[in-house]
Amino acid sequence: MARRVLLIEDEPNIIEAISFILSRDGWDVKSHSNGHDAMEIVRARRPDVIILDVMLPGRSGFDILADIRADPDLGKVPVLMLTARGQQKDREMAERAGATHYMTKPFSNAEVLDVVRSLVGS
């Protein structure tokens, strides 16, 4: 059975591109594009990896990550955070919030693919 990745991101063309790359690599990709009910989707889908944008409509990616880590059932799922801000402060915030990996936009497709593969291996 294909490994499942959940992409929480509000930029439709980024969703399309990442979905394409990961699907071609054999992943079962689902996407979601707002922060409000992201947690419900995470609980329902039970992904093997989550790709989470920091700036989402409705709710910050940091808050969603904190909820994921606080949930005993989901707590250990690897999370790759995406952000358009590369400042040290944001990176530290992501690490403190429990991100498994952190990537700044614009990223390369190969990089995303490598990281997602490595997250499941780990």
Partner: protein
Amino acid sequence: MAESTITGTRIRERRVERGIKQTELAAMVEISPSYLNLIEHNRRRIGGTLLLRIARALKVEPQVLSHGAEAALIGGLREAAGDGSAAAAERDRLEEFAGRFPGWAQTLVDSFRHGEEMERMVQTLTDRLAHDPHLAESIHEVLSVVAAIRSAASILVETPELEQKWQARFHRNIDEDSKRLADGAKSLVRYLDATPGSEADIRSPQDELDQFLSENQFNFATLETGGAEAVDAVLEADTILSLPTARELVRAFLEQYQRDALRLPRALLEQALDRVGLDPLAIAEDVQQDLPCVFRRLASLPADVAGPIGLVVYDGSGAMLTRKPLDGFSVSRPSGACPLWPIYRVLTQPGVPLRMRVLQPDRDARPVTALAVTEQIGPARYNEPPLVRAYMLLLPEPESEDAPSLVGTSCRICPRQDCIARREPSVMQEGF
């Protein structure tokens, strides 16, 4: 070098400047030429009527010869010298420098002030960039679109035998996104171009408030009786305020002014002054109003009614809200003040007014009477400590035998080394 020792040098320079011979000047002020010679070489102290006569003969203000004219200049030079070691060796010759080269000294102080101003401007711009939500959003948008384009473009190039359907789709995405990117970049440039303050007029709203109030001498005759439209009229007539925030600050100030004028009309205040004199506590009792209101009303009086009156107001975090200085007591907005001031001490016992005679260490400082009191902001709530604002009224000090409490201006330029309130080393030396 003490001030009196250099007075002679100044007399000599002014005399030479005017082309008057030593014997001529001596004759004009009725002293012997040899005595004048001793004075000019700083070997005799000079003061009182002789100084006045010499000043008159040289057609200059007496203070120019003694110290007054240079006090501000010397203060500025001290700040400019800072803790830089370059000037440290010559710090004790600072007065001599200011006395002999007032033009150069002024230029130095001006350029130091200019530097400070620039520093603040950079700070303002940096803050604006770092905290500007519109800018952050625009950059986020641009980067997101760039990420989408980058991703789609590399799929097109790197995927072997990409199906027609996908090719068309990613081409379309790139087209869409590049349009958005172009618009985003344009709007970003427009925004940055339009950023106010590209001219050299970046001042804080507080600076504008200070300037506005001081040009109006803290007195607004039309608000003493006028209605709500009077505030609008004052604002409309204004030519100083350029920042919307400054207008809001001024409006809040004027509205408070009007409320105070209603509570304590000018005529009533002047009657109280006649009855009990310039004693704010007695006035407060006489007119049945609280001290902060009396302070504000006293500070609004023109100087010919009850003499010059200063007022400073801080909020609980120590940020200055109102600044009306009084000659002889310096209050500057940017540099942190001295924690020995009664206005800070009154915060430890809200509601209890303090009255202290205080003296700053500056050369042109004079003892002043400082009265401080807190004012509670907002209604009282159960189990909630009050939110307070602190007021300090400054009155010129009548002659008195009592020694004033020694307070500072700001640690950096305060010569009182041995002070329990000191928070940073001073750039000055004791007894300078």
